[in-house]
C-alpha cells in the first residue's frame, strides 16, 4: 500500500478529510518550493500536489499559467521536479503527487518517467489532458500501489465514463468542481453534493474536489461531501504576491477542512 492509500485510510478512520494544497514547482525556485512544501507538511497538509511547469497548461487559468512561466524561466522541467522530490524525501513523509501535462511525460518516455518518479518517491500523477481512454501506455507501467494514476471526473461526465475513470484511477479520484479551468470563480449553488453522491454509488475510492476553491468557507463546504479538498490557484497567487501571509492562510484552510 502506498502513502496515498495509507493517508486516506488513516483519515477515514479518524473521520477526517484530506487537505491537498497545490504549488507550482520552481516558482520562483526549487529551493523555495522545497521550503514551502515542508511548511505545508508542518501546517497539516495531508498530500501535496506539485505542479510541473508546461508552456501550454490547457486546464489551468492565468494564475497557474503565469506561475508556470516563472518556473520555466528559472529552468525547471519535469526531470528537475522529480529531482526535487528525491531531494525532499528524507525530510518529507507525506504523499507527493505530480500534476503535469502529457507531453513532458511523453517526451521523457513513459516507462522511464514512471521508473524515475517512483524511485524518487513520487506517489501519484495527475495528467489533466490524458483521459483514461488514451492512457494505455501509462497504465501499462503504473501497477496499482506503485504510482497512483489520478484521473479527473467533470460535472459533464456521463455514468459510463465515470465508471471508466473510476476504474482507471488509483489513490483517489479528482472531481472537478465545475465546468471550467483552475482558479475560476466557484459557484457554490451547484449540484455538487448530488454529483458526488452519484459518483460514490459507482466507486468506493476516495474522491477529492478541486478547481476554484479559494476561501476557507468554500473549502469547508467542499469537504462535507468529499474525502479531500484541493486548493491550487489561491495558494499559488498568495505565494507570489504576499508570501508572508501564506502560513496564516494555510492554517485557516486546515481548520476549515
Amino acid at each position: 500500500m502506498n502513502r496515498i492509500d495509507r493517508t486516506f485510510r488513516k483519515l477515514r478512520a479518524q473521520n477526517k478529510k484530506a487537505f491537498i494544497p497545490y504549488v507550482m514547482a520552481g516558482d520562483p525556485s526549487l529551493e523555495k518550493t522545497k521550503e514551502t512544501v515542508l511548511l505545508l507538511e508542518r501546517s497539516g497538509a495531508d498530500i501535496v500536489e506539485l505542479g510541473v511547469p508546461f508552456t501550454d497548461p490547457l486546464a489551468d487559468g492565468p494564475t497557474i499559467q503565469r506561475a508556470a512561466e516563472r518556473a520555466l524561466h528559472s529552468g525547471v522541467n519535469l526531470r528537475k521536479v522529480i529531482g526535487l522530490v528525491r531531494d525532499m524525501r528524507p525530510d518529507c513523509q507525506m504523499p507527493l503527487v505530480l500534476m503535469t501535462y502529457y507531453n513532458p511525460v511523453f517526451r521523457y518516455g513513459v516507462e522511464g518517467f514512471v521508473r524515475d518518479a517512483v524511485d524518487a518517491g513520487v506517489d501519484g500523477v495527475i495528467i489533466p489532458d490524458l483521459p483514461p481512454e488514451e492512457a494505455g501506455e501509462l497504465l501499462r507501467f503504473t501497477k496499482p500501489g506503485r504510482l497512483a494514476t489520478i484521473f479527473l471526473v467533470a460535472p459533464t461526465s456521463t455514468e459510463e465514463r465515470i465508471k471508466k475513470i473510476a476504474g482507471a484511477s488509483t489513490g483517489f479520484i479528482y472531481y472537478v468542481s465545475m465546468t471550467g479551468i483552475t482558479g475560476a470563480k466557484l459557484s457554490l449553488d451547484s449540484s455538487l453534493p448530488e454529483s458526488l453522491s452519484a459518483l460514490r454509488r459507482i466507486t468506493k475510492k476516495p474522491v477529492a474536489v478541486g478547481f476554484g476553491v479559494s476561501t476557507p468557507e468554500e473549502a469547508k463546504a467542499m469537504s462535507e461531501s468529499a474525502d479531500g479538498v484541493i486548493i491550487g490557484s489561491a495558494i499559488v497567487k498568495r505565494l507570489h504576491e504576499s508570501p508572508e501571509s501564506l502560513g496564516e492562510y494555510i492554517s485557516a484552510l486546515r481548520r476549515a477542512i
Binding site: P53, F54, T55, D56, L58, A59, G61, P62, Q65, R66, E69, L72, N77, L78, R79, Y102, N103, P104, V105, F106, R107, Y108, D129, P131, E133, T156, S157, T158, R161, T179, G180, I181, A184
Partner: protein, 373 residues
Amino acid sequence: MPALTELEGVYLKSKTDREFQKELVHLQRTYIGRPTPLYYAKRFTEHLGGAKIYLKREDLAHTGAHKINNALGQALIAKKMGKKRLIAETGAGQHGVATATGAALVGLECEIYMGSVDMKRQALNVFRMRLLGARVTEVSIGSRTLKDAINEALRDWTTNVRSTHYVLGTVFGPHPFPVMVRDFQSVIGREARKQILAAEGKLPGHLIACVGGGSNAIGLFFAFLDDEVRMVGVEAGGRGIESGEHAARFAGGSLGVFQGTKTYLLQDEAGNILGTHSVSAGLDYAAVGPEHPYLKDLGRVEYTYATDEEALSAFELLSRTEGIIPALESAHALAEAVKRAPKLARNEIIVVNLSGRGDKDVHEVAQIKGIEL
C-alpha cells in the same frame, strides 16, 4: 470528452442526413460561391518557363479563403446540436472571419480568440469580425499567437460546453475535429479533380499546398490520394531552419502530444512547446494536423518549406504576373511552384491551392518593405 462524443455522433449522422447535405450543398453554391474556379495561370507559367500551373481559387470563396468551407459546415452542425454560441481561435483572422460569418448566417452568438501579436498584424480582419457581430477577445498570455488562442478557446469550451460549440479551424485537436474538418474541406479537391480533367483531360503531376494546421492541404489532397499524383505540403521556413525561427514541424520538430493530438511538434527536450516564427500568421503554429505525419510516414505526401523571403517574393510575382494578390500563407505554396515548375517539362501540370487572398496582408507586406501606408 462527452462533448467530443456528442459531436462525433451528430457529425457522423449528418454525413448521411439528406436534408443536412442538401442544405450544405445549397449554401456552398449560393453563399460561398462554389465551385471555385480552377484557373490556368498563363503568365505566371510563362514567367517560370516550365510546367503548366493551375490555381485552385479558394481566394474567391466568400470571405476570401478556404476557411469558410469548414466554418459553415460546423455552424450547421452546431445549430443541429442546439448550441447557442460559436467560439473559435484565429491566427491570420481568416478562420475568425469565416466563423463570425457562419454565426451570422445561422443566427448564433460568436466569440473569437486571437493572440495580441496577431491582432496587431491582422487589424483589418479584427475589424471585419466585429462588423460581423462577433466579439474578438485578445489573448495576451504565452506567445500571444495562434497556439495560445487555441488554448484560450479550449478553456472557454471547457467552461461553456453545454451552450457552446468550438469551431476548430483546422485539421487539428481531438477527434473528431481532424476528420470532420478534412471532410468539409475535401470539397476543394473533389472540384479540382473534375475541373482539371475537364480542362486537360488528365490528372496533374503535382499538387502543392501550404501547411499550417493543414486543412487547405488535406482539402486539396484528399480526393487525389488514390491517384498517381505527387503531393507537396509547404511549411513555413521563417528565417530558415538553422535560425530556429520557423514553423517547419517536419524539418525541425519531433513527435509529441499537444492540444488533444499526437503529431509532429516544435518542442524542447523537456516537452515544452517552442515559439514559432513566420511572416504569415496562419502558418505560425508549433504543431501540424495528425493526418499529415501519417501521409508523410506512408510516403504519400512530401513536405518541404519556404522561407519568409521566398514567400514574399512569390507574393509579389503572382501579383505582378496574374493580377492576383495571394495570402502570405498561399504564397508559401506558390514559392514551391516557383522552385519546381522550371525543372519540369511544359506538358506537366501543377495545381497550387490558392487558399486565400492577400488583402489582409497588404499592410504587413508594406511594413516589411518599409513603406508607410
